[in-house]
């Protein structure tokens, strides 16, 4: 195929191991992995007429980080820090830098990301492209609020430095813009000061949804971080029972780091029958009991508090060959109580949910992106082992409830929402200043 006279070989390689976190969509994907930023501008000419998509560590669950009709640019080799000012907490780094590496740099100097998703194995570009939120949403809002600037490489306008002031429309399009407004080359983020690497974490077991809503209201005032794990197998009077956790940073000057080497690994995909309603039900009961016994306040390091699942690398393989779907919705505050209660009843009755169900209230701080997910209300996230039609039918029922309640679904978690559901979730979607040379499987599905 290649002859000596030919120009440089294509940087794109066909790989079959590039899947998203849910591992449902499989197939061959053309991938380039540049090591330096100057390689980015040459990639479109190698891709020819094919569309491109910059991707990171592929923690998005569905198809927003895949582009099988075109090609993808794996940004994980562009992970250099550009500048960090330990006096002001302003960090500028290439888009492929992971939160895990950033924490290693900034925590010992007393800084922390302004908000963090539930895994540290995400890239800076990915957190911007999905405008991620965390357990402190009620105080900090989504991460886009803390982005000072980013470098964007567009096929039609070249390399741009974008700030909220320099180009408000492009800034708002790119925050949460699913990587479709240009290749994010670097990001400048304002970090927040911490007085140590540990938190005072209070665990409060509660019995039903009413108790959750009062805990959430009461805790938002005096705790920086709040979240609840829900036993989604519990129905009837116990619907929504779970473990509420709320925490504040401790100012003790102990800045110990997390250790990425202590990962436990899931080396193989589990057999499909490993997660069934009996094992999941048993897990949920056990989890509830163990955590109820731990009720009270404990000092906890940021890693187990913010990133409990990162302790088991590749935990998604527990879902076996067919993979899983995650469902994350947000319900506006005026409808949250009724809608969440009804959804949880349907999920418990279905017997399909797994052990990872999280409920959290969002605060009022507006998210800056055209396609930002967080909005005032409550967000519910659950995993479902993928079992074909059965799973899709259940999620379609949930969709109807979310739609009824004027809620929205989270693209980062989605692998199956309908075009209509997407457009209702993000009524401003047509304002997205998409780069014509970029695309994703998700976008093809919901917008074209």
């Amino acid at each position: 195929m290649t002859t000596k006279a030919a120009s440089a070989p294509s940087p794109f390689i066909e790989r079959s191991d590039v899947v998203s976190w849910g591992r449902v969509s499989r197939g061959v994907q053309r991938v380039a992995r540049p090591g330096f930023r100057d390689e980015l501008s040459g990639l479109p000419s190698h891709a020819g007429d094919e569309s491109l998509l910059a991707i990171g560590l592929r923690r998005s669950y569905g198809d927003s980080c895949l582009n099988r009709a075109g090609a993808v640019v794996d940004m994980s080799g562009l992970d250099r820090f550009i500048a960090f000012d330990a006096a002001t907490g302003v960090l500028r780094a290439e888009a492929g830098a992971s939160l895990s590496e950033i924490l290693r740099l900034v925590v010992p100097k007393g800084w922390f990301p302004p908000t963090t998703p539930g895994t540290r194995f995400v890239t800076l570009g990915g957190v911007v492209a999905n405008d991620v939120h965390g357990k402190n949403h009620h105080g900090a809002g989504s991460i886009g609020r803390h982005v000072r600037a980013f470098g964007l490489l567009r096929s039609d306008r070249g390399a741009l430095t974008v700030t909220p002031e320099s180009d408000p429309a492009l800034f708002a399009s790119t925050i949460g813009g699913l990587g479709l407004t240009g290749v994010i080359e670097w990001v400048e983020l304002q970090l927040v000061k911490i007085g140590g690497a540990h938190l005072d974490v209070e665990i409060v077991p509660y019995d039903n949804l009413d108790a959750f809503w009062s805990l959430a209201d009461e805790s938002a005032r005096s705790f920086e971080h709040t979240v609840a794990w829900i036993d989604c197998t519990a129905g009837g009077a116990g619907t929504g029972r779970g473990i509420f956790s709320r925490a504040n940073w401790i100012d003790d000057g102990a800045y110990d780091l997390h250790d990425d080497k202590s990962w436990k690994r899931i080396p193989l995909e589990a057999p499909g029958f490993a997660l069934n309603r009996f094992t999941v039900g048993a897990f949920n009961k056990l989890y509830h009991r163990v955590n109820s016994a731990k009720a009270g306040t404990n000092r906890q390091h940021y890693a187990p508090f913010f990133y409990p699942l990162d302790a088991v690398h590749d935990w998604n393989r527990l879902y076996g060959r067919r993979g899983m779907l995650q469902y994350q919705c947000v319900i506006p505050r005026e409808n949250q109580r009724d809608a969440i209660a009804e959804m949880l009843r349907v999920i418990a009755a279905s017997g399909q949910a797994s052990f990872l169900a999280v409920l959290k209230t969002f605060g009022d701080l507006p998210s800056p992106g055209v396609l930002s997910f967080p909005r005032p209300g409550a967000t519910l996230a659950l995993d479902f082992p993928f079992r074909g039609e059965t799973t899709l039918n259940l999620l379609a029922r949930l969709d109807a409830m979310v739609r009824e309640a004027n809620g929205a679904l989270y693209p980062a978690k989605d692998g199956r929402m309908s075009r209509e559901m997407f457009r209702r979730s993000f009524p401003r979607w047509e304002q997205l200043l998409k780069d014509p040379a970029l695309n994703s499987d998700f976008w093809t599905r919901v917008a074209q």
């Binding site: 000596k4 390689i13 066909e14 992995r33 090591g35 330096f36 250099r80 500048a83 740099l105």
Partner: protein, 249 residues
Amino acid sequence: MNIESERIVILGAGSAIARATARLWAARGARLVLVGRDQDRLNAVAADLVARGAAQADGVALDCASADAAAELAKMVEMLGGLDILLLAYGVLGDQTELERDPSAAATLIQTNFTSAAAWCLAAAAIFEKQRAGALLVIGSVAGDRGRRSNFIYGATKGGLARVVEGIAHRLAPLGARAVLIKPGFVDTPMTASITKKGLLWATPEQVAEVIEAAAERGGPVVYAPKFWLPIMLIIRHMPTFVFNKLNL
């Protein structure tokens, strides 16, 4: 943690293994000179290393394969005020079929991987000999252990380099200075990106970097990275020819 910053020169500082190793040294507060062909890229690497704790990181753009090694290294040693470690991390894999067909391509590969590399090693050895201290670290390859049909020209350059490093280690040993050849097995880097089936034998650049960091302190003159390649290559080296010839390696 050293109280005085280590003074380190890295040749081929843009490579994935060099980058991972440089980050370990930067975290210890080292002072680094980074050598590669592209000044902008070196500047990006340098900024990253400074953010990670390097006391100094300067990029020097030159083509290691054609530079006057002794003269250039002397300038770098002046920039650092001495030299504690030289890491030679540049090299090209080449395409065996093309190398067999085209003698000039083979000559270029040999110039890059062996001839120029040997000159840098000798230049560093002279400095370490004078200082009676220092560590020369050279990235070789398991491909240099036994010629096999899939990559023996590349393997020959790395095998030749192994003899150079062994000899320098022998020469420096009585003086207290050291030379170590680090032989990585399969490493997932841009150099091997076109190989898509990556199994259990594959290592990350970070794993290899830890071996290199340790090699700067002790051991040698030959270290495999990761270490499990030692028994594997022992078997491959000593396998009878009639068996070896049946293997498609």
